[in-house]
Subunit: 123 residues, 2 copies
DNA sequence: TCCATATTTCTAATATGATGGAAATATTGA
DNA sequence: TCAATATTTCCATCATATTAGAAATATGGA
């Protein structure tokens, strides 16, 4: 993931309404939720909801599909995964020992620390 | 981690300059960097740098200590870890199977998926 | 085709965040 | 105490994001 992509995702998630929307979609799982359902649950006026969904779309944090009259939104898990991976990269460069002490779970300067699951994301 | 803490961290990281600062500090490791060093490397005027460091401080993403005339800033790894943990919580609630398919590395609805390192962060 | 539903786009008002020069504060060494 | 260094705070300006009503668009059912 490039810096600008990560930045776009962080900007998008750095707003309470959008964080709420995104978490709702994370919880909803791959099946997603119709825009109307989201607006209802979060008590958002249509225009406001649409604005925030648009921001999340531009950040590639959500995808959507049409199902009859409804647009079904779902969280873009791969992008979320890539963001998490990005945020743990380049940590404590050149000082693995002290870094391990400071941040055992996020800082993984050596490949051997990678879990198979995490490694899969980066490819 | 509470929602408001996570939100504050995301707001703080959702700005290019602050993301640059934070990544620089992540790379620098626990030894940290003096404010002046940061400003020099990122070509930021003192007032601008100080403003952004202040934002990062309020989000608890950085800590600082005085060393002679310099203020040494370093990344707050535990808060970063907590943020990563927060973002993977409550994923695909009640539908573990489909969630695993959608997000194998971040979505961990069952405790057994926790790594010891990640679990340590949440306590 | 016509109407109801679902959602987006347009628009203008409002609020908030960012910038950086200049002055103020804190620390140290002489 | 005084000067030099390091950083912050103050302040005014500028830029950008957010809000939500109203109108426009898209879809499907009768």
């Amino acid at each position: 993931m490039e810096k600008q992509e990560a930045l776009a995702a962080l900007v998008a998630l750095g707003h309470e309404t959008r964080l709420d929307i995104f978490r709702l979609l994370m919880q909803a799982g791959p099946k997603g939720l119709a825009a109307g359902q989201i607006g209802e649950r979060l008590a958002l006026p249509p225009a406001t909801l649409s604005f925030h969904l648009s921001q999340l779309k531009h950040a590639d944090l959500v995808t959507f599909r049409r199902e009859s009259r409804s647009l079904i939104y779902s969280a873009a898990y791969p992008v979320m995964n890539a963001l998490l991976a990005y945020m743990t990269e380049n940590c404590c460069q050149g000082a693995a020992a002290s870094c391990e002490a400071a941040a055992p779970s996020t800082c993984q300067p050596e490949e051997r620390h990678e879990t198979p699951a995490r490694a899969r994301v980066r490819g």
